[in-house]
Subunit: 354 residues, 2 copies
């Protein structure tokens, strides 16, 4: 860092995205991407938008808001769109945390939360997961700040029920609660309908996972009109044209092509069950996942050894080198062929251990 950098940014490490090596072709099961391309209709609308890029994109993203509002059963005033869901999460830290309002989240969750907190100059408190890697709702009663919960949680894949989230809302009557539903379409229960009851609930979603649009960058915030107005104040103070025209068009297409979406989600769930069974057959502990990834460990081999063994054999999985997670790897759910390749690689790794 130069001597000119605001010292606040010198005191912590930035987020490290999953590796994207370009030296050779890998089977990429490390960043929870969808193995299927975006909906052909989404692609077509994005391609059409490319011809008119000389015009600014719509800061209110009206066309997308209209389709998404109908799909989610809310009003357009309950929605804000962002450059990926990382941006809506960043806006939420900016808007709803502060000097006297720290952030509160589990000690094992999306690794960006502590980075957002530090980037916004706010304190944070980490509440440990249970022995079984679960969020215990009672631990969040009377929390000392704004609560951030990934539900289902990452990297565990484990979900709270809608009732459990509501308990946390009730037990924190003056707190904003942010529920990051990046993976909810793969099995968890959404709490979107609770925004009608709790004007302090912000639900965030992404098009990166279940809609195959990771490379397009599109996120949503869903909340009361009051919270959305706050978040739009941030957006218009930071980057009003944050969603480009091609991505907005792709989002419309992805939402309207419901059949394609449902078929892919169904396939990913089937493949998840297939991989979980194959790993359990091989002595793995597999956490119960409601997402498009599995968080797994095997007695006798460390997460780092698994990660390196897979990488040598052309498969990328994610390994988090932390005390709590060093036994585990996180495997994204790919196509059946990709998973069969991974299983063969695993059998070779196990063979080589003998």
């Amino acid at each position: 860092m130069s001597k000119y950098l605001n010292p606040r940014f010198g005191t912590f490490d930035a987020y490290v995205p999953g590796e994207q090596p370009r030296d050779r072709q890998y089977i990429k099961l490390n960043t929870n991407e969808n193995p299927f391309p975006p909906s052909p209709f989404a692609q077509r609308l994005a391609r059409q938008a490319a011809a008119e890029l000389q015009l600014y994109s719509d800061p209110e993203v009206k066309a997308l808001a209209s389709v998404a509002a109908q799909r989610l059963g809310v009003k357009e005033e309950n929605l804000i769109f962002t450059n990926g869901s990382d941006e809506i999460l960043y806006f939420a830290f900016l808007a709803f945390c502060g000097e006297d309002t720290p952030a509160v989240f589990p000690d094992l969750t999306y690794g960006f939360y502590p980075v957002f907190a530090r980037a916004c100059g706010v304190d944070y408190q980490e509440i440990p997961l249970s022995e079984n890697w679960e969020v215990i709702p009672g631990d969040y009663a009377g929390a000392d700040g704004t609560i951030f919960l990934a539900n289902p949680n990452a990297p565990t894949g484990i979900a709270l029920s809608s009732d459990q989230i509501e308990k946390i809302l009730i037990a924190n009557p003056d707190r904003v609660v942010v529920v990051d539903e990046a993976y909810v379409n793969f099995g968890g229960e959404t709490v979107v309908s609770l925004i009608q009851t709790y004007d302090r609930l912000l639900v965030t979603r992404t098009f990166s996972k279940s809609y195959s649009l990771a490379g397009a960058r599109l996120g949503i915030g869903i909340a009361s009109e009051g919270l959305i107005a706050d978040l739009k104040k941030i957006k218009y103070s930071v980057n009003p044209y944050n969603v480009n025209a091609m991505t907005a068009a792709a989002g419309v297409g992805a939402l309207l092509d419901r059949e394609y979406f449902e078929k892919n989600v169904e396939t990913i769930k089937e493949n998840r069950a297939y991989l979980a069974a194959a790993l359990q057959d091989r002595g793995f502990c597999v956490l119960p996942s409601e997402t498009n990834f599995l968080f797994v460990k095997k007695p006798g081999i460390s997460g780092g050894e698994l990660y390196r063994g897979f990488k040598e054999r052309g498969v990328l999985v994610r390994y988090f080198d932390l005390a709590r997670t060093k036994d585990f790897v996180r495997i994204s759910i790919g196509t059946k062929d990709e998973l069969d390749f991974l299983i063969r690689a695993l059998d070779q790794i196990t063979e080589a251990q003998k």
Copy 2:
């Protein structure tokens, strides 16, 4: 605003983008868009990228960095890419301003600078333009903070020379100077080569104007490796995948199709001269513009009257309702046909005044 919003964001007004009415078709000469579509090659690369959006975009935007570095005569380590140049400007306020480092900029310039300052919680000082609407370099000697200069300036269109910018750098040996070259391709002198001498100089660029990619959202920061590392620290703490895959591809195509770019810029300069002459013939004061817009006023008619007169006749121009600018309108340079339409509308407005 809700009671949950961080009070810092309640104390100022957000940026107001130029109007984008959807009630009828207008000739849009209000947001400095390019009248020509993006390069066909840029469109083609963007369309191709739409087919692979299930994969995350490259956070380092390597392919674009390689082409841009060659084009600008710098190293890839001297570049950062952002979601429009608003984002690189926001990152610069975050990185290089702070509690003891206010922002310093002209009292009439890009209207987003004071908003960025407020959003980042930093003070700012506005230095008045001269009677002739010029930035006076001497006024910035020994400035009390990080200097932001749009060059050419907006909404005046007037440019400083490279030598004048260097004087400001020399007269502030311990200060970061940010030169926002959004419009430089229409006539101003760039200071990109000065980053080799001044490790405290950040130059920002956009693809929105001269490259016809306003709707794609693509900005660049060009600086010493030290400043770029600082800005990347911000990016990786806020939104690592900030540039989507279609936009990155469009940027590559736009840079490589140099002939198309040069032809359009040349046409816009010709049209600028044509419109300036037509307005001067009609008694207008036209500030000398190095951009794709003209800042103009006419004795006997206010900026507001001109704005409304044009709008009634189907032409949108930009009007800033401030004490200093209330006599003026800002007119973006469109196609020859669009400008002829505007001139006819103007003659009707003048006729109606009689």
